[in-house]
C-alpha cells in the first residue's frame, strides 16, 4: 500500500474540532472544580459542566482525542465521524441537550468500534483485540449513558475503555522486550477481570468493585514489571520524559485499584479511586504521549524540551496535595483540585508554546 498523504481534517474543520476538544476540556475541568466546592455561578453551562463532569472528561474529551488518533491511523474518512460526533455530543451536553449529546456519543463509539475492526483486520494480533474490546467498552458506557442509567454503573465502562486502550498500546510495545508468552496470558487475565468488574457493577457491586479495582492494581504491577518504560527511562530526551510519565502513572494506577477495592467494601476514598485513576494514571499518560501524538494528528511539529516536566511535576504534586493531603487537612482536596486544573492549563500552554517555538525556529 502506498501512503497517500491527504489532509486528515481539512481547512477549517481541524481548528473547529480542536476548539470543541478545548471546550470539552474547559467544561470538564470547570465541572470538577465545582465538585470540590468552587462556585462558578448559576449559569446553565456551569450547571451542565457540574452535572456532566465525568461524561465530558472521559467520553467528551478523552474519547474524542482517542477517536481522532484511531481515525488518523486507519485513514478512512468515515472514521472521523467518531471524534466529530463525540465532540459535538459533548457540546450538546453543555447547551442543555443531554439526550442529543448522549446519543451522539453512542454514535461516536459505534463508529469507533468500526474503526477498531479495521485495525484488527489490518493487523491480527492480541493488542488489536484489546483495542477493539476497549472500543466496545466505550460503546457500552455511552449506550448506558444515553439510556439514562445511573452514573456509578457507567463509570467503570468509560474507565475500562481508556484503561484497555492504554493496555493495548503497552502490550504492543512490550513485544520488543520479548517476554515469555505467559506474560501476555497474565495481562489478558487481568483485563478480563477489569471487564468483568465493569459488567458486574450493577448486579454484584462489592464483588465487581473488588474485581475491577484488583484488576487495575494488577495491571499496574504488570506494567511496572514488563513495560518498555523500564528500559526507555534510561534513555534521554523525549523518550525518557515519556517513560517517567508512564512509570509515575503506573504508581497512581496501583493506588487507584486499591482505593476502588476499598470503596467496593464501603470504605471512604471515592476521590482516590476516581482521580488517582483519571488524573494520576490517565492524564500522566496523556501528558507523556501528547508531544508525539499531537504532531501526528494535528500535522504540526513541536520542540521538545525540559520545560515539559513542569506540568507533569505539577500534576503529580497536586495529586499528592489532593489525595494524601486531604488526610492531613480536608480543605487540601479543593486546593489540590485547583492545582490539578493549573497543571492541565500549564500543559496546554506548554504544548502551544512548543509548537510556536518550532515555527519560529523554522522561520529563523
Amino acid at each position: 500500500m502506498t501512503i497517500v498523504r491527504k489532509p486528515t481534517a481539512e481547512g477549517i474543520a481541524r481548528p473547529v474540532l480542536a476548539a470543541l476538544i478545548g471546550i470539552a476540556l474547559l467544561a470538564a475541568v470547570a465541572g470538577g472544580l465545582q465538585r470540590t466546592g468552587m462556585s462558578l455561578g448559576t449559569s446553565s453551562p456551569a450547571g451542565a459542566a457540574l452535572a456532566q463532569h465525568a461524561a465530558l472528561m472521559l467520553s467528551g474529551l478523552l474519547g474524542t482525542v482517542i477517536a481522532v488518533e484511531r481515525a488518523v491511523a486507519v485513514k478512512r474518512r468515515w472514521a472521523f465521524v467518531a471524534p466529530w460526533a463525540s465532540a459535538l455530543g459533548s457540546a450538546a451536553l453543555l447547551v442543555g441537550l443531554p439526550a442529543a449529546g448522549a446519543w451522539a456519543g453512542a454514535l461516536a463509539a459505534a463508529v469507533f468500534v468500526g474503526a477498531s475492526v479495521i485495525v484488527l483486520a489490518r493487523q491480527v494480533a492480541l493488542h488489536s483485540v484489546v483495542l477493539l474490546l476497549g472500543a466496545v467498552a466505550w460503546l457500552v458506557g455511552n449506550l448506558l449513558f444515553a439510556l439514562g442509567v445511573h452514573a456509578p454503573l457507567i463509570l467503570p465502562w468509560w474507565f475500562a475503555f481508556i484503561v484497555l486502550t492504554i493496555a493495548a498500546e503497552r502490550l504492543e510495545m512490550a513485544r520488543l522486550m520479548r517476554h515469555h508468552p505467559a506474560v501476555q496470558v497474565a495481562l489478558m487475565a487481568i483485563l478480563v477481570a477489569v471487564l468483568a468488574g465493569a459488567a458486574g457493577t450493577g448486579r454484584w457491586p462489592t464483588l465487581a468493585g473488588a474485581l475491577f479495582g484488583g484488576g487495575l492494581s494488577a495491571l499496574a504491577l504488570w506494567l511496572l514489571a514488563f513495560d518498555v518504560a523500564r528500559r526507555t527511562v534510561r534513555s534521554h530526551g523525549l523518550s525518557r520524559y515519556m517513560a517517567i510519565s508512564l512509570l509515575a502513572g503506573y504508581v497512581w494506577l496501583a493506588v487507584a485499584g486499591l482505593a476502588w477495592v476499598g470503596t467496593a467494601f464501603g470504605c471512604p476514598g471515592r476521590d482516590w479511586a476516581l482521580h488517582a485513576l483519571g488524573l494520576g494514571f490517565i492524564f500522566s499518560m496523556v501528558m507523556g504521549h501528547a508531544p508525539v501524538i499531537l504532531p501526528a494528528v494535528a500535522r504540526t511539529r513541536l520542540v521538545f524540551g525540559i520545560w515539559f516536566y513542569a506540568p507533569l511535576l505539577l500534576l503529580h504534586a497536586s495529586l499528592l496535595v489532593r489525595l494524601p493531603g486531604s488526610l492531613i487537612d480536608p480543605s487540601w482536596r479543593a486546593l489540590g483540585a485547583m492545582l490539578n486544573a493549573a497543571a492541565m492549563g500549564l500543559f496546554v500552554l506548554t504544548l502551544l508554546a512548543s509548537v510556536l517555538a518550532r515555527r519560529d525556529a523554522k522561520r529563523g
Binding site: T2, L176, R178, S235, G237, P291, V292, A296
Partner: protein, 110 residues
C-alpha cells in the same frame, strides 16, 4: 557493499548512504532507529525513483505518518533533486521482535 539489514536493490554505492539516512529516522518513544527496530523491509532504486517498504509495530498508531514523513525528509536530503520517493507501508509479513537488530535487543533486554 555495506551489509544491510534490509533487502536492497540498486547501485551498490548508494547502499551505505541509504542505511545511514534511514538510521537517522527514530521511533520517538524508543529512541531507536527504524532500522534497529526492524521496520525497514526493503529499498529499491530505479531510474529516478526510490521505493522504501516499511512496516510499523502497530496498525493503530497515529505516528505512522510522522515516521513516513521523516523517511521522506532524510531521503530527500540524500538523493538528487527530482528523485521520486515512495514509502510503502506493508503489513505482510507482520513485524516480529526477531526483526530487531542486536543493538536494539541489547537495549531492550537491559
Amino acid at each position: 557493499m555495506t551489509s544491510l539489514p534490509f533487502a536492497f536493490d540498486g547501485p551498490p554505492e548508494l547502499s551505505g548512504p541509504m542505511l545511514s539516512a534511514l538510521s537517522r529516522v527514530v521511533d520517538p518513544e524508543l529512541s531507536l532507529s527504524i532500522v534497529d527496530v526492524g521496520l525497514v523491509y526493503g529499498v529499491s532504486v530505479t531510474e529516478g525513483e526510490v521505493r522504501v517498504r516499511v512496516t510499523m509495530t502497530s496498525a493503530a498508531c497515529p505516528v505512522i505518518d510522522v515516521i513516513v514523513e521523516d523517511i521522506e525528509l532524510e531521503l530527500d536530503r540524500l538523493l538528487p533533486a527530482g528523485t521520486g520517493i515512495v514509502v510503502e507501508l506493508c503489513w505482510e509479513p507482520p513485524w516480529t521482535p526477531q526483526m530487531m537488530s542486536e543493538r536494539a535487543r541489547r537495549f531492550m533486554q537491559g
